[in-house]
Amino acid sequence: MAISNATLAGLTRKQLLEMHYRMSLLRRFEEKCAEEYTRGKIGGFMHLYIGQEAVGVGSITTLEPQDRVLSSYREHGHAIMKGIEPQAVMAELFGKSAGCSKGKGGSMHMWSNERGMFGGNAIVAAQLPMAAGVAFAAQYLGEPRVTMCFFGDGAVDEGAFHESLNLASLWKLPVVFICENNQYSMGMAVEKAWAVDSLMPRAAAHNMPGEQVDGMDVIAVYEAVKRAVERARNGEGPTLLEVKTYRFRGHSMTDPAYYRTREEEHQWRNTRDPIGIFEKKLLEQGVATQAEFDKNDERATQVAEDAAEFAENSPYPTPEDLYADVMVDGSTALAFRRKRE
């Protein structure tokens, strides 16, 4: 097959190369984040997505611009994939005004009304009920929007997971629940936390279709999520996907990951890197060349560099910003009738 006409999973060569670029961008962007964190430019908690790029890229590639994404605190990748500029994400990490949440949120709280990125939630599983509500609003208003909700394997242990799936199934809401099972909820191995060895019984328990997916294979993710998104868009209700993946780094920047072996990590990095797997597939199918991968990687590295430079040179919020946007109407705890000095 001539390279220019090659397709995979119904995706054109151009789309496939764009997915490769996106995966490279998330990788390079977060490597830059780690560097800036070490330099003290980024504070607080920061949870990197490195190793899980195939999930965010494969999933969000299936969405339309009007669709909405809700996520956990490991959401830099989802935010960028949903269309927030890398510069705005990096500026948010730096706590600058130009950040996508004006520097008030930080690593765990990325938002854009315009792009349909609805956070960044740092309470485990809190985004699931809200995703049901966002999906309900679309259903109520007759809008053709799908809501996609990302969460980790730890969120499955929360009551909100079960209550949300029940409600979403009961009301046939246009939502796709994507569990990124990276196999550790912080330091707790999933087999020590789950009484089941897969999420499929839990999908069945709430009467919705479930599918297990190899989260290191971006094409497999894309195909499974596409089916779920189509079901949601056609009014057939929610789907639960368990996407098996692995985070190459610790839970957060300060986690030395004593709960797993270095051998296990090396095994995953060396044989299951989602970017490497995708490149191998594209080369084997004759869809793209190494030179094109290198070009994508160079571009991604440059965008990450530029984002950091932009964030560095952006101003911090002003003292006046401290009290801005607590309430939509600007009200405060004390409602004065007379003007005060």
């Binding site: 809190a126 809200m130 509500g133 109520y140 208003l141 409600l167 009200s331």
Partner: protein
């Protein structure tokens, strides 16, 4: 004017807001076919149907999160939680999500949500069903917390709450639903702002500050005091957050004496917060220490005589007033 119960006035407000704006819908446990635990939503399911009057599973955390999500998605939800006691299960969504999102995400998301829930004791419902808890939520920036006490106020304030762009916790009281009061005729549109208290009885000797069901107890106490020549001003706070601070300061400047009466617990609560504010803004006008009448510092007991003892009554208010209003004052000799 006509006379309506608190319950009927509340239902009328919900109905009128649903007629005014298609985005307004109500959800909660047993609010549709059953008509609501306290029959507030009775008849609305028949009128508006399943789309806009939605029964939910018994899952307070998730239905609250769903209501927040619905607001984020462009709707104006009115969520009924069966009682404020159950809101503790939803407190993560209320405090960590609803109160924070507008600020935490740089002013982008808005959550125009009303959470209705009754609190309070006095019906022998035991420790887990007799709490006020408004103070817990009023502590948190990002929320509005209101507790109307009369049919007139509950209607006007519910309408304002639905139109407010912020999350509003709308705290009713289990013993208020049957009380009656004057409400403007049907079709006479009115709203009451969510940052204004009201002087419900004018007086000159002492300011009694209260809210929710305790307003009615306090008004009775004021009547008793009047018989003894003590002229009490009664302020219904109506809004716990924001606080109508100048209304309180103005009254203190006039009377120089304050008694705060509330049903909830004393320590670290609404009354103590108000007392601290009055000391901060009107210390120089006070002629006596602020008195505080509250519920007993115990989990609510079930047994009727014990429950009565645990709840503040009008005699406790009268006693507190007499402790700081000297007889000479009311006889017009002092000052």
């Amino acid at each position: 004017m006509r006379t309506l119960t608190y319950r009927d006035a509340l239902r009328e407000a919900i109905r009128e807001e649903m007629l005014r704006d298609d985005r307004v819908f109500i959800m909660g446990e047993d609010i549709a076919g059953y008509g609501g635990t306290y029959a507030v939503t009775k008849g609305l399911f028949e009128e508006f149907g399943e789309k806009r009057v939605r029964d939910t599973p018994l899952a307070e955390e998730v239905i609250t999160g769903t209501a927040i999500g619905a607001a984020l998605g462009g709707l104006r939800p009115i969520l009924e939680l069966m009682t404020i006691n159950f809101s503790l299960l939803a407190s993560d969504q209320i405090i960590n999500s609803a109160a924070k999102f507008h600020y935490m995400f740089g002013g982008q998301p808005q959550i125009p949500l009303v959470i209705r829930m009754p609190g309070g004791g006095g019906a022998q419902r035991g420790a887990q069903h007799s709490q006020m808890l408004e103070t817990m939520y009023a502590h948190v920036p990002g929320l509005k917390v209101v507790a109307p006490a009369t049919p007139h106020d509950v209607k006007g304030m519910l309408k304002s709450a639905v139109r407010d762009p912020n999350p509003v916790l709308f705290i009713e009281h289990e013993l208020l639903y049957n009380i009656k009061g004057e409400v403007p005729d049907e079709g006479v549109e009115y709203t009451i702002p969510l940052d204004r208290g009201e002087v419900k009885r004018e007086g000159q000797h002492v300011t009694l500050i209260t809210f929710s069901r305790m307003l009615h107890v306090t008004l009775q106490a004021a009547e008793d005091l009047a018989k003894e020549g003590i002229d009490a001003e009664v302020i219904d706070l109506r809004c716990i957050r924001p606080i109508d601070i100048d209304l309180l300061v103005d009254s203190v400047q006039k009377t120089n004496r304050v008694v705060i009466a509330e049903e909830g617990w004393k320590y670290y609560g609404t009354g103590q917060g108000l007392a601290a504010l009055i000391y901060e803004f009107a210390f120089d006008y006070l002629d006596a220490p602020i008195q505080h009448v509250t519920g007993a510092d115990v989990p609510m007991p079930y047994s009727k005589p014990l429950e009565r003892l645990a709840m503040p009554d009008k005699n406790a208010i009268v006693k507190a007033v007499k402790a700081i209003v000297p007889a000479a004052l009311t006889q017009g000799i002092a000052r």
